[in-house]
Symmetry: C2
Subunit: 599 residues, 2 copies
């Protein structure tokens, strides 16, 4: 497993040089503490913790996995101690509400920490990561008493949280879920049902676990309109607020799975467990949707994390491993062969990883700023605009980045050749860990429908226009910039085409609703490449400007420009295939009768 090194220079580039975080934080309500020095210091401290404490446990977690017994789930060696340090460092409370013990920093600072935690050790990071769902639910919909009882403990990190949605027969389609909540005379509810795929559903890292459970009240309407949310703690809080009596909730088993072995994926049995309604009756899904974008952005980070880790591992290897001579003549004549980084095809793989990782960082941080504004923007107008932008960017970030992260992780294996397939090197673990990203928190297919159906077409394209306008303005600003021409011209063409294909799909969908599902995946991927093109063009602009001004970091900025060039010449052309595919229409998918798929 490669030793993770937090890419602090690039983090700084994206935060402050590309996205002007200083100005951004100054524009927020109550983000006075987020001064550049403070943010730098926090990220620097976080980096040390991730590099020194979490990264060494990444392979341990994979190899040991979690262990189930009737007494509960045991996490891999070192996980519990690392969590203790994490809590003592105050990391869980960073972006939480000051009123309940949080430090009130903007969410975007927290997401940088999530990136570093996730890249160092994704499976470990899921334990505190899952708490965010419970924290968001309580912040948005909890009563004051619920907040005092649960939110404070989640924010301090003493307790962790889960989201209990999926049942064996339903994941994407929550409308058919069956778990029941029967009212008790004391105002609480008895929750009964079995939930599966509950990440961090049980473990030994914190003294209590707060489950947010989707269940149906008696006589609730069928489908998605009859689902309510309940708080179901593993241990019922005692009078003094500490974890008391064991509740009737238990982990029945843990899954054997492809990767993220260090994180327990639990079957959770609720056997008349005591729970409390949170939010209005039958509005559970609506309540969850209020922070769905933020939760999905958390998963989008997984794409960035595995892309970055894959890149770091394969770059080190490509510089050290000797094999064959450069086609253009020996580059390491005194050695037995040249390092493989001299070979164009190895560079193709490394540059693909690099442009994915750095592009992903730009996209995540851009969306993270929108989530800051959504929560701390000074005007309703700003907040609404940020919500719209988040709505548009989130499915792209979640699906496109996890797909690209998986590709990058696979390239990491490929650069290592046969050694990539061997567990010891950690590159194959990175692929196995990455693979879940395209599935949970809404599969790529679900995100694609969300983007095209719910976000773009349901707003008559307004959601897309919010973004293409940014692109248009940027292109216009740089129309006369000779150095930027190689980026602006293709970007402008793409931006125009993006609107046109959206119109076409919209028209076709009026005749046949299957046209939406038939175009959605390729539309999402196309949009991902387009968003990356905009971000890479902007990054090139920043770098070219710095070089024009004169800088001591010429090499760093040159690398940005070269990577942008690589992106435009070597990855963006994939959009040509996606355009053709999404124009192929529904017939090419629907005309084969179901019974003719195999004989």
């Amino acid at each position: 497993m490669p030793d993770y090194k937090a890419p602090l220079r690039d983090i700084k580039f994206v935060m402050s040089e590309l996205l002007d975080s200083e100005q951004h934080y100054a524009s927020l309500e109550g983000a006075e503490d987020a001064t550049p020095d403070m943010v730098d210091a926090i990220i620097g401290e976080g980096a040390k913790f991730c590099e020194q404490v979490l990264s060494p446990l990444n392979q341990v977690g994979d190899q040991e996995g979690c262990t189930w017994s009737e007494d509960g789930v045991k996490t891999p060696t070192g996980f519990k101690e690392a969590y203790q340090q994490y809590v003592e460092g105050g990391w869980p409370s960073m972006a939480a509400d000051v009123e309940y013990g949080g430090q009130g920093l903007p969410n975007s600072v927290n997401l940088v920490m999530s990136e570093m935690v996730g890249t160092a050790n994704w499976a470990w990071g899921m334990y505190p990561g899952l708490s965010h769902g419970a924290i968001n639910t309580l912040e948005s919909h909890g009563t004051e008493e619920q907040k005092q009882t649960y939110l404070t403990k989640l924010i301090s990190g003493e307790w962790t949280g889960t989201m209990c949605l999926t049942e064996a027969h339903c994941g994407s389609d929550l409308g058919t879920l069956r778990s029941k909540a029967e009212p008790n005379s004391d105002g609480s509810y008895s929750i009964t049902g079995t939930k599966i795929f509950i990440s961090a559903g049980d473990h030994d890292m914190a003294e209590n676990i707060v489950h947010i459970v989707l269940a149906r009240l008696p006589d609730a309407p069928k489908g998605t309109k009859g689902i309510s949310l309940f708080i179901v703690p593993k241990y019922l809080p005692g009078e003094d607020g500490s974890a008391g009596e064991k509740n009737a909730v238990s982990c029945g088993s843990i899954e054997h799975k492809m990767g993220i072995h260090g994180n327990a994926t639990c079957v959770m049995n609720f056997d008349g467990a005591k729970g409390w309604l949170i939010g209005p009756e039958n509005k559970g899904l609506n309540c969850m949707f209020t922070f769905m974008n933020v939760a999905r952005l958390g998963t989008a980070i997984q794409g960035l994390s595995h892309a970055e880790l894959g890149f770091q591992g394969s770059l080190d290897y490509a510089r050290e491993r000797l094999a064959m001579r450069a086609l253009s003549g020996p580059k390491n004549p005194e050695g037995s062969a040249d390092p493989i980084i001299v070979h164009p095809d190895v560079r193709r793989m490394l540059l693909t990883q690099k442009s994915i990782a750095e592009g992903a960082r730009a996209l995540i941080y851009m969306a993270a700023q929108q989530s800051d504004i959504l929560h701390q923007g000074k005007t309703e107008e700003e907040r609404q605009a940020a919500d719209d932008m988040m709505g548009f960017l989130t499915p792209i970030a979640k699906a496109f980045l996890t797909e690209m992260g998986h590709e990058s992780a696979n390239l990491g294996v490929q650069v290592f050749g046969g050694h990539g397939y061997i567990s010891e090197w950690g590159m194959e673990q990175n692929v196995r860990d990455a693979r879940i990203g395209m599935i949970y928190e809404g599969t790529t297919g679900i995100q694609a429908l969300d983007l095209l159906g719910r976000k773009v077409l349901m707003t008559q394209g307004e959601s897309l226009k919010g973004f293409t306008k940014l692109v248009h303005v940027f292109c216009k600003e740089n129309a006369d910039n000779e150095q930027m021409k190689e980026f602006i011209e293709p970007l402008q063409a793409l931006n125009k085409e993006w609107g046109e294909i959206t119109m076409t799909i919209g028209k076709n969908a009026m005749k046949n609703r299957d046209e939406v599902g038939a175009a959605s995946f390729d539309y999402l991927m196309y949009s991902g490449y387009a968003v990356f093109a905009y971000l890479w063009a902007r990054m090139a602009k920043v770098a070219l400007d710095k070089m024009a001004e004169g800088t001591e970091e010429e090499a760093f900025y040159n690398a940005k420009v070269e990577t942008a060039r690589f992106y435009f010449k070597r990855l963006l052309p994939r959009s040509r295939g996606h355009v053709a595919m999404l124009e192929a229409g529904a017939d090419s998918l629907m005309s084969l009768p179901e019974d003719q798929f195999a004989f």
Copy 2:
């Protein structure tokens, strides 16, 4: 793990309807036994063995893996017994030389069996599969005594073989290998060195293992011109020909790896082991190249196998799993939801898998017929033409099919959603097993250089012309066929473009040799899509003709035509991206200085 069902109808379609195997076998020297009835009967028997014996052991092999001890490697439960049945069934000898106990059937019949074995249980199939390398080496370069001693035992399956090439510091670049062979006074050699990644290097399935080892004679020239081949048996053959005294070769350890757990990947230590030279001194690599294409075709099958297994698994699931309603209205109104096969995006995934699996079968069988002609063609001219065609098709089949098979296996996971990530269902194992295909027996990058550099450019494009001429003739024959227009028009354009981009790369490469490496991957993928386009157009033609003639299997042929349409509209457009990328040239990969890849 899905229960494997041999796709006998499709196998028959490709063999006899697409590739006219009856006429093909009749045209070969000494293939009189390969009558249609005989071939059908063999494949039918083989299918039963694969479905009933090997398929149930696929998941067992993954979960148990192999166990190392000082006494040797123990294979998973049932593997040894299955091998016994395989030997008793006469399967190892099917395509081998009659003179040494073989049945003399054409290689293409054997490859159909290899497909079924590999799809049922790839890890198991590698044990007999690895023998082919040793068999080919002995058939081509062994002395009569060596053949009598080793070849007969390998053909009967009593013994198995390995190829010992890789050392820790060298895989693709064999020129730097260090294992030594010192001559003994009795004409034998003492072999010393450590080989890694030796598949089936040790096991308990056969009474002896024949290693073909690459090593250097004293004072051998440096590099690839100083490598010789040696036969090194695990047990030295006694006077009566049976396995006798233990040789000084042992398995030092086995690798923990991503997949193919049922197959032992061994570190093999040769400590002055007794061996015998095979073929001329210092010509080891040349000797191996004589059957490299056939060996690589064996690995190409892995792409087909994982594509097929992924497709079978996800099709069953997509028909049974209920989630959400079709966008165009309920299709299963009495159920709680519709089966997911109604959703366009699920169909996109299934059709991608289907068109990959069936296209791969056509490509493998086409190449297999060439390998038949190479060995049993009646004229030197025929044999030479087949050798050229094999040379062109092999890197495409090996690299393109393993890449596509991996994609298809991953789609299998995706169709299953969260369940795909859980080991129990077997879909994630299919991905892990598939992943090695793009690496061993020459990585995708190595195949791409072989195709573009060695095969196409070194023959001044003649190698490509051999194929594009076939395409041209086919297009001309169907120029007036209205029904075929949708396939012929894009195929013709592609065929022209293929020649043009080859010319362009060739010109650029004269100025800068890095242009070859910079274009090679995209050229290979482009070529793969082009070859598939030709094969899918031909398959559509066969099906349309059958329907025009009138048939009781209308549904089967209709599915072929629809799948061909899907291929042209939904997969072939990827070639647009690859053209643009390979035209991007070497600069986009080489201009970033090595020390600027990260900061």
